[in-house]
Each structure stands twice: as C-alpha cells, then as structure tokens.
Amino acid sequence: MTLTAEPSSPARGLGGDALWTILILAGLGTYAGSLASPYGLRVLTLAGCQALLVLGYQFVFGHAGALSLAQGAFFGLGAYTTAILATRYRWDFALTYPLSILVPLAVAAIVAIPALRLASHYFALATLGLAQVALLVAVNGGDWTGGALGLTGVPGIAVLGEVVRRGLPLAAVVWGVVALGAWASWRFAHGLTGVAYVVLRSDPIAAAAIGLDERRLRFTAFLLSAAYAGAAGALQAHTIGVVSSETLEFSVMVTCLAMTVIGGSTRIAGALIGALLLTFLPEWLRFLQGYALLAYGAALLAMIIVAPEGIAGILGDRFVRRRRAVELPSSEPVPLRGSKSATLEARSLKKSFGGVVALDGVDLVIEPGEILGLIGPNGSGKTTLANVISGLVPPDGGVLRLGSRGLLRLSAERIARAGVSRGFQTPALPPSLSALELVALARASATGKIGFLASLRGSDAGRRRRRFEAEALDLLGKVGLTAEADRSCGALPTRLAWRVEVARALALDPGLIILDEPAAGLGEHEQSELGAVLRDIASRGIAVLVIEHNMPFLLPTANRIVVLDQGRVIAKGRPGEVVRDSAVIASYLGREKIGA
C-alpha cells in the first residue's frame, strides 16, 4: 500500500531547510566571488566561524533542549589551543586544528559527568561556572595565555606548506569547513536520530520507553557542540591572528545564543541566517555602534516570544516547491517472535515514599502469553508496581527477574530493551511526531541504529529509514491504526492513543507489555478492539499486564487477576474466582458496581 504524508514534524520539515541552506550558500558564493570588498570578505569569513559555532550549539540547545552556557568557553578553548601551539611551538595547522577540536571535546567529556545529570537550570549554571573558570585561567595564565592582553601573531592556515591567503581563499576554506559541518549536522538531524531528539525534548520518559538512553543522547549532543565550537574558535584565531580573553567573555556566549534563537535552533539554514545576520548587521548599522548587544537583547526577547523557531522556522517550507509526497513501500511484516518472552518474577517488592508505604512486599509471577489484570483501589500501589517493574522507580528491596535476568539494577531504557515495554496512563506521545515516525524510531532504537555515528553512516535515513517505517506500518496495522499512521500524535483523537502506545511497545519485540488503564474513557467499540488486540498479542507468546478499573472490560479479557490493596497482594486467581473473593469485595469491588 502507499501512503502520502504532509510534512508533520521538524525532521520532515527539513526538506525546506536543505533548499534554503543551498540557496544561502549559493548566494554567499556569488557575493564572495564578485561583489565583496576585502573588508566584506573578512566579515564574511568571521561570519563563517560564527556559523560553525552556532551549528554546534544547535546540537545541545536545539536538539537536546539543554541550555549550555559553556559554548563560548569551548570556542575560546579552541582559539587558545591554536594560538598557544602555533605561536609558542610553531606547530603546523595539520596538528593544531585537530587538537583545537580535541581539547574542548575532552573538557566537555569531563564536565559532562557531573553536569549532564542535572536538570535544566543546574546544567545552565554549572556550564556558566565552567565558562567563568576558563576566563579566570586565561586572564591569569601569565605568559602561557598572554594574560589580559592575549596572544598575537597567530599565523594563517597552512595546508601542505602553502599558507592560505587572506581574502577569498581564506573565506572559501572557512566556509568549506562550515559546509562540512552543516553536512554532518544535516545527517544527524535528517534521519531517525533527529526524531529521537524530538522525543527526548518532548518527554524523556517516552524516550526511555523506546529504549533510548537519555544520558547518552545528551552526552553526544554536548560533545558535538564542544567539538564544533573548538573548530570554530581555531578558525577565528587564524582569521584575526589574535586571541585574547575577550574570546572567553560572556558576550561571545550571549551572541551565539542570540544567533541560534534568532536564526532558528534546529535548522541548518537557521544557523547560517543567525550568524550572517548578527555579524553583518552591526557592520551595516553603524549608528548602533556599541549598542549592538542592546539590540541583540531586544531581538532575542522578541524572537523567543513571537517566533520560537526563529527566522528559519518562519521560512520553513514556504516559497519552496512542496516536496513529492512520501511514498512508503508495502508494509514489512515484523515477526513478533516473543524472543524476549520469559517468566517475569517479582518477589517481596518494597517501596515507600517518605512515610507512605506504596508496595509492602509484593509477589507476582507473569507467564509468557498470559493477560494478567491488576486491580485494586486507588492508592493501592498499582502504578508504583508498574513503575518499579519498568525501572522508572527504584524499589527499596525485593527481587525482580525476567527469566534468569535480574532487572532491579537496570535503568528504564535497559529494561525496555531487555523486553519489558509499557504504555502510560497519560499517553506519552510527542505531539509533533506522527505515529509512524514514533514507531519507526522505536524499531531503529531496538536495533541500535540511533546516534551520531549511525546517522553519519546513514543507518537511520533513506532506504534504511524506509525499512523501519515499513515495519512500523505493519505494527500499526496490527493495532488497527494504518489509516492514521501519518497523523501527528497531537492531532490524534484521545480514544486512539492506546493504539500508538501498544504499537510503540510492540516495536521493541517485547516479552512483556505493561498497560496502565488503557480502557479508561474508551467507548464500547474501542474497548472490544483493545481486548482483541491484547488477545492477539498474548497469542504470540507475549505477556500482558493490564492495570484497569474497568471490570466489564477486564473480566472477559484477562486470564488471571491479581488484586492489590495497601501495597499487598490480597487475592489472585481466575477472574471468576476473584470477583467472588470476600476480601476483594470488601476492599474494592464492594464499592463499585460491576456489570459482569
């Protein structure tokens, strides 16, 4: 079958981005080749350094959604590395340039250990602390850094012994590096890895649920930003020949932030527009002299309020011929072999929140291929149990195994990859993504095809991406969502959300699926569809754990029912037996009308 798709997510919207990027680069080429004065070429070259810096900043700020304030420091580190090695030791460009990238990279890797596990503002201010240390070191570095005056006499770029002349050749080299950086950045953002970052930004728990390692994704983005910044700083050092502590001042960071926000924080064209605009504008508007930062501040504030996706976001796909509709191959059957199916065994699970005991020694066994209903009054510990089994909440004690594999010390994304998938009471679906993209991403994640290197190799784009999408289409067919596969999750009616959640869970080829009140708010038709899908899943040897209040739905669907009350299992057995259990009636069922 064939589907047509409107661009529905940032990743898909990049079609316009590519064209805008090429248009801008072509325009710059024309300008540089025919119109630019030597002075104009110099400004253009500096704008190239900034463009590379901003491209790097997009990884951490735009894609990972983390406000790093160390980008200026990494830029300065790259510049100082080049200046020190080139002026003091007369090292060659072929050596200094890679080192100017590696030094900030190494510093970023060290700082990332404490900093990256921090929530947003902790991270922002910790990175600001790093920037301040770097500035202090540069100012007080004595002969090494040239103190407050800095280092002068940084030579030009030399390739194979030939010094690249200033003017057009230097501009061409710098913009060549920018183009290379843009290409890598494009690979990164264009494939499913870019989609993974959309999920990460929108909901880290949803990312963990498809086996994405939040910390690894953030770490990668942070390191990439540092590498690009170092590359940019080194180029600027060669271009202006001087490196002083000004390179490390907060204004460099703020200018980079302004360029990113004003241009657009996830689009390649945004980085180019932001860098060019904010480098050339002060040159054109001489009357602003000295107050450029004042104008940046006002523009930054206006843009973040009015156009959070920046100028490139406003341009988007506008004025660009609409792309050919996406055609998908016929769906590719996903063999759900239940290869990770095994008996899930929980023994004496305990969890307290402060003084409140949520789980008080829960024993639970779930066999492959069974549908187990978990019921109990509100606050009895049902969702806590699901959170403990899926690794979102660490238990205080007990045993948890899937087959012979212990799950207790594993993170949520590892448990997801080990074979325990789950859906959420409030569906965790990134609104800007389509069901197809999300499930395709989950397939790619299950096979380890998400990450910067994978994206450079193209393992998550083009033909390979289509294969994941074809598989996703098959899974969406299994839950009856083929017709809506291309609608963005945000536009999907709530009553259909469970289908996406189940398809996403299936994408990891799980041994056990946990669903938290999937039938809540569903009409009778949807409920019977849900029941049929769950039975279909179970028939493939995959266990299903359903938390549910809706007894008319659960009783005919479940093979077994476990009743939880005050953190303890008070009854278990076949549905018919459990509803007649006097303890169950007293604690739970007696308070509700049951219609089955």
């Binding site: 201010l125 600001l128 602390g129 973040i304």
Partner: protein, 291 residues
C-alpha cells in the same frame, strides 16, 4: 585579632548582600520553576538607581533605600510581563533565555545611560568608621549586615506569618492546586518578581557603596547567588541565606589571604564539586529536579 574581626565583618556584609540576591533568586524559582537570570543585573540596576538618585537628592542611603526598592519592584513587574508571562507554557529554558535577554538589555541600557565608568552609591548612614579603642569597624559594613538582616527577617515574617505569604507559598508548591483554592496565581507570580527585584534593589544600593557599580557587575553576582542557593539546598530560603553568608565569608577571607582570583576560582570549582557529590545541597534535601 583586630584584622580578623574586621575581615569577618566585611565577609558577613558581603554575604548579607549576596543573601538578598539569593533570596530573590529562590523566590522567583519557587513561584515559577524558572531561573531569573537577570537577577544579578537587577542588582546592578538598583546600584545605578541609587547612584543616579543621590545626584538629584543628596540624602543618606538609608533614605534612598525604600525609594530604590519601590522603583525596582515596578521594574520586577515589567520583567515578569516581558520575560515570564508570555512564556509560561514553554519549557523552562525559554524563560532562562528571555531573562538572559532582559539582562543584556539592562546591562547595555546602563552602559548607554551611564557609560563604562564605575559609579558609587552613598553610604547607608555615614562613612565614619566606628571606633572602640584600637578596633575600627566599617560602619557601612555594619549597616549592610543590619539592613540585610532586617530585610531577610521581614521576608521570613511575610512568608510565614501573613495571608499573602501563605498564598505565595501555596503558589510555589503547586500552581494548579493554588488556583483551584481561589488564589490569584498570576498575581502571586508577579508579586514574587516584584519582591525579588526589590531585594535586588536593596542589594544594589548596599553593594554599590563599597564595591562601586559597573554595567557588567551583575554577571558575577548571579553566579555567586547561584552557588549560595546550591550550597543551601535548592529552593530553601534559610539554606540560601546560610549559603550566601558562607560564600561571602569564604570570598573575603581567601581574597585577603591569597587573591580575589583564587577566591573566585575556588568558589566555581567548589560549585562543580558540590554538584557532583551532593546535588541536593549541603544542608538538607530540597527538590532536586524542578523545572
């Protein structure tokens, strides 16, 4: 002995001023879940406000203080209207960026209005040191400690003992619940910004006498206040005050013994170490993952 006492007083005074900055920081953080990065620049603005006012109206700082605080409260309302309310439903980083933008405007606005030369605000009372025999204590440092202590206690009283304070705390704890209880949540948030800016104004007036004020003076302050908040446990008001006093004392003593640079470098280093080992702060446990 005498120098040690003077040093301790200076450190305490600096710490007390930091405490005012840190308190404003925590107030806004609790009310909104977002960091007001312009807090340091608001201090700078307060300092310039005092410096500008005294040129028109040559009175002691103590008299200027309420005027500056009132004007700064208004500025705080403006900041909330521009940088917070339009971005309420966005990720926390959006407010962070918008307050960076506000800081940028304040810094460069000050540069445009006053130029890069340092300015100074009048002393709170007079500049004569207090003498007891050999001992001579800076009366300004003493005044800073006393005024800051009064303001901190006043704020503690406001939050703990008044209906308004109760509403503010309810808003900080759970915005939706507070709204359901009939509290005007947006008014409380705006008030938090106003209070934070007023405290920043007080800190600016007090600091600008001893340390001068330059357009970029706020940048270092925000980091110091942040370190104080991290030490004190994120979101805790008492912890922030304790943290600020520690930072002020540490900075003054190390600066006297070694150098100001060493003091700053050690502080920033300590920040990274604390974040690594005890992200919940040195004192007690506050929400470790807000926003």
């Amino acid at each position: 002995m005498v120098t040690a006492l003077q040093l301790a007083l200076n450190g305490l005074a600096l710490g007390a001023a930091y405490a005012l900055v840190a308190l404003g920081f925590v107030l806004v953080l609790n009310a909104t879940g977002a960091v007001n990065f312009a807090q340091g620049d608001l201090v700078m603005a307060g300092g310039y406000g005092a410096a500008a006012l005294v040129a028109l109206l040559p009175v002691p700082g103590l008299v200027l203080l309420p005027v500056v605080m009132g004007a700064m409260a208004l500025l705080g309302l403006v900041v909330s209207a521009l940088a917070f309310f339009p971005l309420m439903r966005r990720p926390a980083t959006a407010v962070f960026v918008s307050t960076i933008a506000i800081g940028l405007v304040l810094q460069n606005g000050a540069l445009a209005l006053f130029g890069p030369e340092p300015r100074t605000a009048p002393p709170a009372w007079n500049s004569e040191p207090l003498r007891w025999g050999e001992l001579a204590l800076s009366s300004q440092a003493l005044a800073v400690v006393v005024i800051a202590a009064l303001l901190v206690l006043g704020q503690g009283w406001l939050l703990a003992r008044t209906r308004l304070g109760r509403d503010l705390r309810a808003t900080a704890q759970d915005r939706e619940m507070a709204a359901a209880l009939g509290i005007h949540v947006n008014a409380m948030i705006a008030l938090s910004f106003a209070l934070a800016a007023a405290l920043a104004g007080a800190a600016g007036t007090l600091l600008a006498n001893q340390f001068f004020v330059t357009p970029t003076a706020g940048s270092a302050l925000i980091l110091k206040a942040y370190i104080a908040v991290v030490i004190g446990g994120w979101g805790s008001l008492a912890g922030a005050v304790a943290g600020a006093l520690l930072v002020g004392l540490f900075e003054t003593v190390v600066a006297a013994a070694v150098s100001y640079t060493a003091a700053s470098a050690l502080l920033y280093g300590a920040l990274l170490v604390i974040l690594l080992l005890r992200p919940q702060g040195l004192f007690g446990e506050a929400a470790s993952r807000r926003a």
